[in-house]
């Protein structure tokens, strides 16, 4: 599996497929997620949400609800003064948590209630009377830029540009006009992608408790309990140190649990009622009012010489941000041509507002859409050139030393090896039948580092507690325990990894951008090395020799030099046992900003069969090749590749927010928002490449996101090869494919 061409280091336990420490709790039902915690005297919190896409809130009369027996608190925006101090991003968060003068999308929260039980809380919601003045709305990204489109957020409107156009991020180098003038073949196409949801199975849930003395606790399903703490404290005027946030087990996030949604409201309700408040979103609320990704509309133009050299490329993609600005277009612009070495390229990501929920990150945010357009266009270019699409990609592939479209020169990167692995894969030579086709596409994601700290404490029996501040969404505790065991030279089973709450560790950035194992892995390595320094000092004391004469190997202290020949090694357990007499507890800590995350690339192969009668596309075979840098726990690396590909498949074929003329979401349920089920998918084959990240001691790059990027383009290319129609819009749902087939035969 590991091509020795790329791997350098020898590892003892890293890279083995051990059992995860939280496995037992999760197969027996003992693991506690967001909705599984209770507190004495807890109330049930529910939210009243706007039924309108855009409306002025003229009046909220909650007096009847407040008088209902069993209702302990009602909250509206009047209870949430603006404490954001001019921080526009934080003000957006405040306004998204609860509408202020206007409801900005279907499902926007307008009031919160806490009552003794669910039945009472539901009754109270019905008694709150909101007087709305309906305003014109817009939910389509292209329509939002029409001259007569309603302006979603007047406070972001700027002179000289459309009021819904927030900004443009432009990236690239060279002279594209000159480049296109040199091109023999130019392909120019437009594409659209639907809005999708991260689709975590666990709805947002929290248990909030605030006391009159200003202290509080929040139990919550989140990717970033430190960010939640900071945001909630700032919005509610609490001291950060007095709010303890504990991350529950998390039932999926994929970017959607990086922002606060109803948590500040739960805390505000608890403060007002002086009782703990539990809030759990319904699935409909999750769809309507929490983190979907952007829908997009884009124009892609790529030109090449007859020999297949791509000389110019231009992409402009409009990203629908929902009702609040984000950096989604910017990210898209940066990723558009990252897989290729193109002398003249320009990518523009445009951020546009609409009356839809505030967009949150979704696994490699913004990259899959751009890749759909770029990878579809490259296949069409290959067809015009009469060349093989994989060879065309290889001819123009980015390498170490290539100028990345968003600026820097690449270090060692894995796109060429993944493409070579695809070219040489037996999957590429498997026979295809009637109405079947094969597609290939590539993808890129940055990965990020960020603020991290870890604590490593050695117990009196020599077992080790590793406490980290990044959450574990898919096996990170196992990976981090492997890393600690590797450094210390002890058994994996002797390390227990815990996720610390916000009062037990310094700030840790949110677990996003595939940073968990990269950054906490780095902090764990250095914490372990510091603990080893202490262990060596303690061994020196036990032996009564200078610490310089002590080395650490294979989990033991060794005395070096002929004069110490008589001293047999002291194991970690030997030293731990005597810690009380040699200076007290033994620990290692590490706090740092883990910069230097390694970029990651993937290439995918997919075979599809399209039923020309129904337009339904079936995935017959799927292969993921991705560079992991170093796979700490290969099972969970494969799992990330497979899960990301499955989400990409859902995006490509079925998943999409459907808004009616009234601006309301029509499919806010799993029945109508159709995510792939087990019988929709074949076994997803994986190949892990390991091209070490030079900025990480173990070469880790981060593996979580990249493989959601290629599926849209790969499947579009496969459909085209199967039935001869090119799809310009995802999802490539049966009606769209049928229409394309009809149009082609007409």
């Amino acid at each position: 599996m590991n091509d020795p061409k790329y791997t350098g280091q020898e590892f003892k336990v890293v890279g083995t497929r051990v059992k995860r420490p939280d496995g037992l709790d999760k197969v027996t039902g003992r693991a506690r997620y967001g909705a599984d915690m209770s507190a004495p005297g807890q109330l049930v919190g529910l939210m009243l949400r706007s039924p309108h896409a855009h409306a002025r809130i003229k009046k909220i009369d909650a007096s009847k609800a407040e008088k209902l027996a069993g209702v302990k608190a009602v909250i509206t925006s009047a209870d949430l003064p603006d404490l954001t101090g001019g921080n526009s991003g934080l003000y957006d968060t405040l306004e998204n948590c609860m509408a202020r003068d206007r409801a900005l999308y279907d499902g926007h929260a307008v009031a919160g209630v806490a009552a003794i039980d669910r039945t009472t809380a539901k009754k109270a919601l019905k008694l709150i009377k909101v007087t709305y003045e309906k305003l014109p709305h817009v939910t389509d990204v292209d329509e939002a830029l029409n001259d007569d489109a309603p302006i979603v957020q007047p406070r972001y409107a700027q002179d000289g540009r459309h009021g819904n156009l927030i900004n443009k991020g432009e990236f690239g180098h060279g002279d594209i006009d000159k480049g296109f003038a040199e091109a023999d073949v130019i392909v120019e196409r437009s594409y659209k992608t639907g809005q999708t949801h991260q689709g975590y199975i666990e709805p947002h849930a929290c248990l909030a408790s605030v006391s009159p003395d200003g202290t509080g606790e929040l139990w919550v399903t989140t990717q970033g309990h430190f960010a939640y703490r900071n945001n909630c404290a700032q919005l509610l005027g609490m001291d950060i140190a007095k709010l303890k946030v504990t991350s529950s087990e998390i039932g999926g996030g994929f970017g959607g649990k990086t922002h606060v949604w109803m948590e500040p409201i739960a805390l505000a309700l608890s403060r007002k009622a002086n009782r703990p408040v539990k809030m759990v979103m319904s699935r409909e609320e999750v769809f309507k009012a929490s983190g979907p990704t952007c829908s997009t509309s884009m124009d892609i133009k790529i030109g090449a010489k007859k020999d297949g050299t791509i000389v110019a490329a231009r992409a402009e993609c409009r990203y629908m941000n929902g009702a609040f600005p984000g950096m989604w277009g910017t990210l898209g612009g940066m990723t558009a041509f990252a897989c290729y070495n193109i002398a003249n390229n320009k990518a523009i990501g445009v951020n546009v507002l609409c009356n839809r929920p505030k967009v949150a990150a979704y696994r490699a945010p913004s990259a899959p859409m751009m890749a759909f357009g770029v990878e579809s266009t490259i296949d069409q270019l290959a067809k015009e050139l009469g060349t093989d699409p994989v060879e065309l990609r290889l001819k123009n592939v980015a390498k170490e030393g290539t100028l990345a479209p968003y600026g820097p020169v690449w270090g060692p990167i894995g796109i060429e090896p993944t493409l070579e692995a695809v070219r040489d894969h037996p999957h590429m030579r498997a026979k295809l039948g009637k109405n079947q086709g094969r597609g290939v596409a590539c993808g890129f994601w940055f990965n990020i580092g960020g603020q991290t700290c870890s604590d490593l404490n050695i117990g009196p029996d020599g077992t080790v507690n590793l406490t980290v501040g990044t959450i574990d969404v898919g096996g990170a505790r196992a990976s981090l325990a492997l890393i600690a065991a590797e450094e210390l030279g002890i058994a994996y089973e002797d390390v227990r990894t815990n996720i610390g709450d916000t009062s037990s560790l310094g700030h840790n950035d949110t677990t996003e951008g595939s940073r968990g194992t990269f950054s906490s892995g780095m902090a764990t390595i250095f914490a372990a090395r510091k603990a080893i320094d202490v262990l060596k000092e303690r061994a020196a004391k036990m032996w009564q020799i200078p610490v310089e004469a002590v080395t650490w190997e294979d989990g033991s202290a060794h005395a070096v030099g002929n004069e110490h020949d008589n001293l047999s090694p002291l194991t970690l357990k030997d030293i731990a046992k005597k810690a009380g007499n040699t200076g007290g507890p033994i620990a290692g800590h590490h706090e740092a900003t883990a910069d230097g995350a390694g970029v990651s690339f993937a290439s995918h192969i997919v075979d599809v069969e399209v039923d020309p009668e129904t337009g339904k596309t079936t995935i017959l075979r799927y292969t993921v090749v991705q560079d992991a840098g170093k796979a700490i726990h290969p099972d969970y690396v494969e799992g990330q590749f497979q899960g990301a590909a499955a989400q990409g498949i859902g995006w490509a074929l079925n998943e999409e927010y459907i808004y009616g003329e009234d601006g309301r979401l029509q499919n806010g349920a799993f029945l109508d928002y159709r995510m792939p089920v087990c019988s929709d998918l074949p076994s997803i084959d994986t190949k892990i490449l390991e091209i070490p990240n030079p900025s990480h001691p173990y070469g880790i790059r981060g593996v979580g996101e990249t493989s959601i990027v290629p599926p849209l383009g790969a499947i579009g290319n496969a459909v085209s090869n199967a039935v001869g129609v090119r799809m310009y819009e995802v999802p490539m749902s049966p009606p769209r494919i049928l229409k394309a087939l009809d149009d082609a035969s007409a």
């Binding site: 027996t28 039902g29 199975i201 499955a646 087990c678 019988s679």
Partner: protein
């Protein structure tokens, strides 16, 4: 609303509770009886996270009323292990890394058990269709299918020994 008195059997234990007539079995299990291993993902029978068996039949607890459990037998994920000994499915889900976030795992285990109780030698296609009522967003299902295949093999071996 007047409560309904229910006498039932859950995970082989006799259980009595009083619930409102319109309360779902899911809410009864989670909120009244503390069986929070039964998960709520949608409340509309689309995700399977609340899968339990009712007289051996696979159901979504969110689509069953608490009152309907009268005189019936319910198995939840909490009842799968035999004391310290895990059910082979539980064992193989861990061995095969068939869970990432784990929120769907209890439902998958119950659904897979319902399948293997009927058919100890399912094909891959049969497994995939038997589990099609359960959503997993993390794994892409590959390792779940492999875990079920491995558990089926273990159970076949166990049965041979018994005979």
């Amino acid at each position: 609303m007047a409560g309904v008195h229910v006498t039932t059997t859950i995970n082989n234990d006799p259980v009595e509770y009083v619930c409102p007539a319109d309360e779902s079995l899911l809410d009864v299990l989670r909120d009244n009886l503390g069986l929070t291993g039964v998960k709520e993902g949608c409340g509309t029978g689309d995700c399977g996270a609340c899968s339990v068996t009712l007289d051996g039949q696979l159901v979504c607890a969110c689509l069953v009323l608490g009152a309907e459990a009268e005189g019936r037998t319910i198995t939840t994920v909490e009842g799968m292990a035999d004391g310290e000994k895990l059910h082979p499915l539980q064992e193989q889900f861990i061995n095969n890394a068939a869970l990432q976030c784990g929120i769907c795992t209890p439902g998958f285990l119950i659904a897979a058990k319902a399948l293997l109780d009927e058919n100890l030698s399912p094909t891959e296609t049969e497994i995939r269709y038997a589990l099609a009522g359960n959503l997993c967003r993390c794994t892409g299902y590959d390792k779940i299918v492999k875990a079920v295949q491995a558990a089926a093999k273990d159970l076949r071996k166990q049965n041979k020994k018994k005979k």
